[in-house]
């Protein structure tokens, strides 16, 4: 038989795509439960106001209305607030300010979109009609949108007891050593920069259905989540006070998450709790405007970065101060983003010997901010890689040479950075060299000259980055403030005739897990790819799991599968030894076959599994029947993907429009299971990175109204905005997980933004531009060109 290879390394087509592209996915909004009612959330249109009164009488009396709930019923039932999953301590050792985040606003509203009431009716239309009849009296308070305004003396206070609107004032690194290095530095280079606020905008808006079974007293929540077990834990234990065995959380097909569907949201608790009160299912589906006003936003950091250098261009020390916008409340992982997911990456790919970073997190009257594709690492990467180009320009050194000179060398791994992380592997010279070649860096001056002849400004930029994913050792993250473990779980069930179902605690919302994991199982157990099914997204089916984020599914979830398969193989060897009358030590397993060493005796895994489930001839005194194993895997370290991204742009100097001409990514993501899926993941990430660099911006006005609250004003990247994205890989293996994998989900969004901006700044080099904050919109570019008017040579 000449079977097509479908194991590790094969670009197998995604088996889930037939379902998705033919409209046969099963998303939360596709689910309708018998006798379900529909919920509409009444949200604040005020950024900051005291609630004087809520009159629900007219809404309750409206046609079809089943119930109207406000904070009154929530408080009567003593429900908890939305919990935060990560606790940061300030420099002085005090824990972060953690104000109550009520699931329906109580006393005050703190951002436009803050939920105030839920109206539940027979139809969605009736609920919407009735919601308009709610009479809410407000007393407006001064509102704050920007972090700078939030910490201004005399600023309006958003939460009682939170002075200066400051959640925490944290630091990492050795300030004394860094200050000393600055004092003796040959020169220093300083850069102020902003990481623009983004709205994740998954294709599928959030939705949730709560259901209650009065006989069993069981609750079920169907929700658009990246991690159903985490939702069960957070909502059950902290908000609704339901034990795990009474609460099932199902995350069916989910149409994109990018981080925004990690978090526990108020609406999930509202529909679940309402279902119990009303004894009928309650469904809520977000519309797009609501998504802009209620999905956690991303980024929004203001930073100052300063590098101390010696006379040869060697980095001596880095000093960074960041103010991070938390929004109005703490979302699930918000405090971790600017701190342990960002400041710990400030060494980047460089051997900077001393680093000190301060992060002040502040509340504003904006939608809560949390992890979004990359989560903290895009922020540190943008800061470092912009700083590299500014340093190179100011000390008169080639920007590639500057990077190469300061790289952590390939033989220095494991490498301990001055900011907590220890990188296990990497080879930054190689990814850089490979990317320069793929992008024809050396041929750029000729291309620039040609573009100039056409009247266009051409620029090229690169970024060399490392990031941390595969989050992470539970013990370490616990020390850093995580309130949960971060292991992963796999259950591998070999069926009697040898087909396999794997149950994973990770969740696929576009990543292609049903294919990648099936390849992994097929490869390791030697069964056919088509005979492996992957099950995820249901707390009643999966033993446990921490979900999918931080590019962890393969590095952590896949490693758990390997552990479970190791147990399957070990048990299979015992069965095989019995069947073939050999010693267990003499049984070898390869390519789906158990064989007795040195003989031609062989049993396939299907024969072994049949024997395990039909144990007529079976070592029943030694082992149990069946062939199914569960493994929990807790990683020893983060994984550290890295690489080099190169972007080439042309600018229309009359309009300021930037066109991305070429984009080259050469990434080290460790071992690759499915190259096609990795390429797609990186291209998708780069698309979002180009989006951040050139197009996307969540703009609040000074009154804290979200101006870009729809696609009419918020510019998502479209196919036409993107060039061909060339993806290559250079591999060093992760040294501490069994597959040697690192993760590929976020590298595109992490490495690309500074490459784009570096290219834009390079294109404008004749205009004396030092830095451009994202997004580099046509208006912004034109303003630069206009302010530094050079003769328009083409005219």
């Amino acid at each position: 038989m000449n079977a097509v290879f479908e194991g590790i390394g094969a670009s197998v087509r995604r088996k889930e795509d037939l379902r998705f592209i033919s409209g046969r996915g099963n998303y939360t909004d596709d689910i309708n439960r018998p006798n379900q009612a529909h919920a509409i959330i009444k949200r604040s249109d005020r950024p900051h106001a005291r609630i004087i009164s809520i009159d629900t009488a007219a809404a309750r009396a409206a046609a079809g209305v089943v119930a109207v709930f406000t904070h009154v019923e929530i408080e009567a039932d003593a429900l908890g607030g939305v919990p935060c999953g990560w606790q940061i301590h300030s420099k002085d050792g005090t824990p972060m300010a953690e104000p109550m985040h009520p699931i329906l606003a109580s006393g005050k509203v703190r951002h436009v979109g803050d939920p105030i009431a839920v109206v539940i009716a027979e139809t969605r239309q009736q609920a919407r009609d009735a919601a308009e009849l709610l009479e809410i009296e407000f007393e407006d308070l001064p509102a704050i949108a920007s972090v700078r305004d939030a910490i201004r003396p005399g600023a309006s206070q958003i939460h009682d007891g939170v002075a200066d609107n400051t959640c925490f004032d944290w630091h990492i690194g050795d300030k004394a050593i860094v200050d000393a290095a600055f004092a003796r530095a040959h020169r220093t280079v300083k850069l102020d920069l902003t990481n623009n606020r983004l709205v994740p905008n998954a294709m599928e808006p959030r939705a949730a259905i709560g259901e209650f079974d009065a006989m069993s007293q069981d609750y079920t929540l169907y929700t658009t989540s990246q991690n159903p077990h985490v939702i069960r834990l957070l909502m059950g234990a902290f908000v609704l006070h339901l034990p795990e065995h009474r609460l099932r959380v199902v995350a069916p097909d989910v149409g994109g998450g990018f981080g925004s569907k990690i978090y526990h949201y108020a609406e999930e608790a509202i529909v679940t709790w309402s279902a119990g009160k009303l004894k009928r299912p309650v469904k809520w589906t977000c519309d797009r405007t609501e998504a802009f006003l209620s999905d956690a936003h991303g980024r929004d950091h203001d930073s100052t970065a300063e590098m101390a250098l010696d006379a040869q261009g060697n980095f001596l020390a880095l000093r960074v101060a960041t103010i991070a916008n938390m929004g109005a409340y703490l979302s699930t992982f918000a405090p971790a983003v600017p701190t342990y997911l960002s400041a710990t990456l400030l060494a980047g790919v460089y051997k900077t010997p001393a680093i000190y970073a301060e992060v002040r997190a502040v509340f504003t009257n904006t939608v809560p901010v949390d992890a979004y594709r990359g989560a903290g690492r895009p922020e540190s990467t943008f800061l470092l890689e912009r700083l590299m180009d500014v340093i190179a320009a100011e000390i008169g050194m080639d920007r590639i040479a500057l990077r190469r000179q300061n790289f952590i060398p390939a033989d220095a791994f494991p490498y301990q950075t001055p900011v907590a992380l220890q990188y296990d592997s990497g080879d930054y010279q190689t990814t850089l060299t490979s990317a320069l070649k793929a992008a024809d860096w050396d041929g750029f001056p000729a291309r620039r000259a040609k573009a100039a002849a056409r009247g266009r400004l051409r620029g090229i930029g690169c970024s060399t980055y490392v990031e941390a994913c595969g989050i992470a050792p539970s013990k370490l993250v616990g020390q850093l403030g995580a309130r949960a473990g971060l292991f992963e779980v796999a259950q591998v069930r070999v069926h009697p005739t040898g087909s396999v179902t794997v149950f994973t605690g990770t969740h696929s919302h576009g990543q292609g897990h049903e294919t990648t994991f099936a390849q992994l199982i097929a490869d390791q157990l030697g069964v056919a790819f088509k005979d492996v099914d992957v099950v995820h997204g249901d707390t009643n089916k999966i033993p446990f799991g921490m979900g999918t984020y931080g590019s962890r599914s393969l590095a952590v979830g896949g490693a758990a599968m390997v552990k479970a398969m190791d147990k399957i193989i070990a048990k299979g060897k015992k069965i095989a030894a019995h069947l073939m009358e050999a010693s267990v030590e003499d049984i070898e397993f390869a390519a789906g076959k158990f064989s007795v060493a040195g003989t031609d005796k062989v049993k396939t895994i299907a024969e072994i599994s049949l024997a395990a489930y039909v144990p007529h001839n079976y070592p029943i005194d030694e082992i149990e029947p069946g062939l199914e194993e569960t493994a929990f895997y807790d990683p020893q370290n983060f994984t550290f993907p890295g690489g080099c991204h190169i972007c080439e742009v042309e600018i229309d100097r009359e309009t300021g429009h930037v066109e991305v001409i070429n984009f080259t990514a050469v990434d080290d993501v460790g071992r690759v299971i499915n190259p096609m899926i990795v390429e797609g993941q990186i291209q998708g990430g780069v698309a979002q990175g180009i989006g951040q660099a050139l197009l996307e911006h969540a703009v609040y006005d000074s009154e804290a109204q979200l101006v870009s609250a729809s696609f009419m004003d918020y510019q998502m990247p479209r196919a036409g905005d993107l060039p061909n994205i060339s993806v290559g890989t250079e591999t060093t293996l992760c040294t501490h997980n069994p597959l040697g994998v690192k993760g590929c989900g976020e590298v595109g969004a992490i490495g690309s933004p500074p490459a784009v901006i570096n290219a834009v700044v390079d294109a404008l080099r004749d205009y004396g531009v030092r830095h451009i904050d994202m997004p580099a919109s046509p208006q912004k570019i034109w303003a630069i060109i206009n302010a530094n008017a050079l003769p328009l040579a083409a005219e």
Binding site: D129, E654, S708, Q715, M716, S777, P778, Q779, N786, E795
Partner: protein
Amino acid sequence: MYDFAYEKPSSLADAVASLKANLDSKALAGGQTFIPVLKQRLNKPSVVVDLAKLNLKGITVTPTTVTIGAMTTHGEIALSADIQKTLPALAHMASMIGDWQVRHRGTMGGSLANNDPSACYPSALLALDGTITTDRRTIKAEDFFQGMFTTALEDGELITSVSFPVPEKAAYTKFRNPASRYAMVGVFVAKFAAGVRVAITGASQSGVFRHTAFEHALSAHFAADAIKDIVTPANGLNSDIHASAPYRAHLIGVMTKRAVIEALS
């Protein structure tokens, strides 16, 4: 959306009667603006009168005039071989509206009646000195547009067709709003024997307008260079997160220059 009654009359007279009879009634053409507005509950009509069965589709092209039925879609205009040959600037304009889904539903009559200040067609109608025919009269372009989202149409008056004189040369250039892809600045330049007309959409607080300074210069000398020293004042122009008024003023010059070059090519 809010509940409303829906009617789909099969004669123009019935449609007009229906619109007249019902307070807060609205006509539905292609619905590419109106239906999103309804879905967001920004409009609460009592009756929606669907114009789809009124036989208002069709394109008639003579050497001097292009006449387009009000319910003709952008897609039909963009793909019409006759328009591509006789008035290619108009076909090109239609091809740049929205995406294919929008172009297959959205109509010229609907767009003109709505008079969105960022819509494309108003600039064509004004620059080409076109004429609107309604169920009761004809209206010259100059008289039709009366500020953003405001036209000379009376309550219940329906556009039946639009006719455009064929110019010697014409072109439309559009600098899209980066997010919405509507015109942030759209410029239609039309050269007739009697002179050049330049209409700008997307830029002004009061909707489409003629750029008389450019028209004088280009009528005297139809070349890109003719307008290079004319500064468009920024006052009265829109300013938003995507473009300040001075930037729009600048873009008007750039896009007009490009339209002239395209018209000459």
